[in-house]
């Protein structure tokens, strides 16, 4: 068994048995459901808004080369510098090179999952740069030395008391159970870091082709400070974040907020239009944008799953996923958790090592219904399963399903097998058989009837 699968099974087993933690997550999401439904009801027609949002992403993704070129030429006209990165390694090298060129001493970062995807903090720290997360949740996770639990709510699993203890330990502050006070502690600590930093690193929610602007959405104002105060602004973005028109944001921004966090709009939505221009009093001196492929073009080349590039990383699919809610975000071992993570991680990191995430689903489809840009999420899990069993079938699976199909193609054998199965069921339930043993550990089976349906039907209808 691959390491990633073994670790997943171990962590998922432990977490699924942790009733307290599951109840805590469930309660946190309960508030989200209420707010989300309230905000969805304010749309004249949520389903048509989903169509529009999906179409906005579709039209950009399906013309990606042209739309990207248009974006880049407008971004450069605004005075920004574009760097192309084929993969995570190239993106890290580019960012480290910029840091070296500008002789950076301190770096501040706002929330950006793409930087998590390339493990940027590790690379920066190894090269000797101090880097601080400025998003409160990410800041907490950084202090905990833990990856984000949820790609929108990074520390949703951490209780207030634990945050207070963490701050006492690392920042020397007095214990408190007031969320406002905890926020103020982080705020006081971070404020000077923005001022001291040479480089601010952000992500991008959308790249607007027609204006060459970058759109960043946040609730805390930390991304604005990260982008505006340091001398150098570096943004890292996947190439799929581009949209054609500024007008597309009129549907995408509110839907991102509502689907992701149950908000009408996120508190701060900012369009960044290049570095400080002559006569302007603020903004960075240099504005770099790293546009990264890292398997996006591989997904683009797959006509079945291309729509997974529509993802606006709102997290709605995680919030409704019974798997996510019961095993927690860390068990996935991925940058992107939940259904979208299970769909795209095999493309990012390899199908053979990561197809177990697609298998670990009841295919309930709650994710697909929740997705604001209509990604066919749960059916993509099926497609990953198909691709995985083509690419690296297991002997057990082949034997089981060929055997099963051999039986169901022969009604007499199916009926005979069924009779034997029913007669021996009391015994079978006690044996450590594959599948049956796992079922019987926590659940009963109905008592086997003496006669099958087909037997009873025959007797009734002769």
């Amino acid at each position: 068994m691959d390491d990633s699968k073994a670790i997943f099974l171990k962590d998922a087993t432990v977490n699924a048995a942790d009733g307290d933690q599951r109840a805590f997550i469930n309660k946190a999401l309960g508030g989200y459901y209420t707010n989300r439904d309230l905000q969805k009801a304010r749309y004249r027609d949520w389903e048509r808004a989903r169509d529009a949002a999906s179409m906005a992403k579709w039209s950009a993704v399906n013309d990606l080369a042209n739309v990207l070129e248009k974006f880049v030429s407008n971004f450069e006209r605004n005075g920004g510098v574009v760097h192309w990165a084929r993969d995570a390694e190239e993106a890290r090298v580019i960012i480290l090179k910029i840091a070296e060129d500008v002789k950076a001493k301190a770096i501040v970062k706002s929330k950006c999952m793409t930087t998590e995807e390339i493990h940027l903090n590790d690379a920066l720290e190894k090269a000797g740069y101090g880097v601080v997360e400025s998003d409160l949740g990410e800041f907490i996770q950084q202090l905990r030395g833990e990856a984000p639990y949820h790609f929108v709510f990074p520390c949703m699993h951490v209780k207030r008391e634990a945050i207070s203890e963490l701050f006492t330990k690392h920042l020397g502050t007095a214990p408190t159970d007031s969320p406002e006070e905890l926020t103020m502690i982080a705020r006081r600590h971070l404020r000077q870091l923005y001022i001291d930093a040479d480089i601010g690193i952000t992500g991008a929610n959308f790249l607007v082709a027609e204006t060459g602007q970058i759109s960043i959405t946040e609730n805390e104002g930390n991304a604005r400070l990260t982008a505006a105060l340091p001398r150098i602004h570096i943004a890292l973005s996947g190439i799929e974040k581009v949209v054609n028109h500024l007008d597309d944001l009129s549907v995408l921004l509110p839907m991102l907020a509502t689907a992701g966090a149950g908000q009408p709009m996120t508190c701060y939505n900012t369009l960044y239009s290049g570095p400080r221009k002559k006569g302007e009093c603020d903004g960075p001196e240099e504005f770099h944008l790293v546009l990264m492929d890292n398997a996006r073009t591989r997904i683009l080349a797959d006509p079945e799953q291309r729509d997974s590039l529509h993802c606006i990383r709102c997290g709605a699919c995680l919030n409704v996923c019974p798997i996510f809610k019961n095993i927690g975000g860390l068990a996935y071992g991925t940058t992107y958790q939940g259904p979208i993570g299970s769909v795209i991680t095999p493309h990012l990191r390899g199908l053979k090592q990561w197809n177990h995430l697609s298998a670990a689903s009841s295919l309930c489809g709650a994710c697909t219904d929740a997705c604001p840009v209509r990604i066919d999420l749960h059916h993509h899990l099926l497609r990953n399963r198909r691709n995985a069993s083509k690419e690296s079938p297991t002997l057990f699976d082949l034997a089981f399903h060929h055997g099963f199909t051999f039986v169901i193609k022969r009604p007499w054998l199916f009926a005979l097998g069924g009779r034997i199965f029913r007669a021996t069921l009391p015994l079978l339930q006690k044996l450590p058989l594959p599948y049956m043993g796992a079922w019987m550990k926590t659940r009963d089976l109905p008592k086997a009837p003496a006669q099958s349906f087909r037997d009873q039907w025959k007797n009734q209808n002769v």
């Binding site: 798997i323 670990a360 709650a366 198909r386 069993s389 082949l398 006669q451």
Partner: protein
């Protein structure tokens, strides 16, 4: 109407009363009911396990079994979704594609057939019990059925209907998922089964016998005083 029964393989072997009840209701409404004994399993276990090549063999076989049937009615949202939605995907681009589409259009889930095809909500049943309902995910999200079973249950004489919390939450069955990832599946059963038990209903009713296997199996192991029952079994009780 001449109705060809589609009896899921595990109903055939483990809960035949569901198939008999389905036939009884359809006959009571005046329809001719046939059971083609060449049918076995729709192939969904292999399809969901990624073994599409062997699942295709099962699908092609099912096409021939139900060839010429006016309508095919099955008491399972999941197995009907396999025929309706996934056979066409599985057989896309093969010589069987057209027949798969044709079968999909003739195949109905039991409550869907009664309400949407026949326009019947009162089948003349009586069942003086407290009942809650579990929506199978395939019925709810693949077939878009939600109101149909409720309309049928509300028309049953003496029946008291109670909605449960976690109304749209999966029970955690998911076919072989329940045995491949038993810890996750059981956690899901706890969430769903717990909410159903809290209603204080006598029975949890569903149009999906596979969900009832999971929910009923967990409720029984936990000793909860609520029993699984298929909707056809409720509707089969004469007034």
């Amino acid at each position: 109407m001449r109705v060809s029964l589609f009896v899921p393989c595990f109903v055939d072997q483990l809960t035949p009363k569901v198939g008999l009840a389905t036939a009884k209701v359809l006959k009571r409404l005046g329809h001719d009911v046939e059971f083609r004994s060449a049918q076995t399993c729709c192939g969904q276990p292999s399809f969901n396990s990624g073994q599409w090549d062997v699942a295709r063999e099962g699908a092609i076989r099912a096409l021939s079994v139900f060839r010429g049937a006016d309508v095919v009615v099955g008491p399972s949202g999941s197995c009907v979704a396999m025929m309706r939605n996934f056979y066409p995907e599985l057989l896309k681009g093969t010589p069987h594609a057209a027949e798969a589409d044709d079968l999909a259009a003739r195949t109905f889930e039991f409550s869907e057939f009664l309400v949407k095809k026949l326009g019947v909500t009162d089948v003349g049943a009586k069942f003086a019990k407290k009942v809650t309902y579990h929506d199978g995910c395939h019925a709810m999200r693949e077939l878009r059925l939600k109101e149909e079973p409720r309309q049928l249950l509300r028309a049953v004489r003496g029946l008291e209907f109670i909605e449960a919390d976690e109304g749209e939450t999966c029970c955690g069955f998911g076919g072989l998922f329940s045995a491949k990832f038993p810890m996750i599946s059981t956690a899901m059963a706890q969430v769903k089964g717990g909410a159903l038990a809290r209603t204080g209903a006598d029975y949890v009713v569903s149009s999906d016998p596979s969900c009832l296997l999971q929910i009923g199996g967990w409720l029984s192991r936990e000793g909860k005083p609520i029993l699984p029952l298929h909707i056809a079994e409720v509707l089969a009780n004469d007034a």
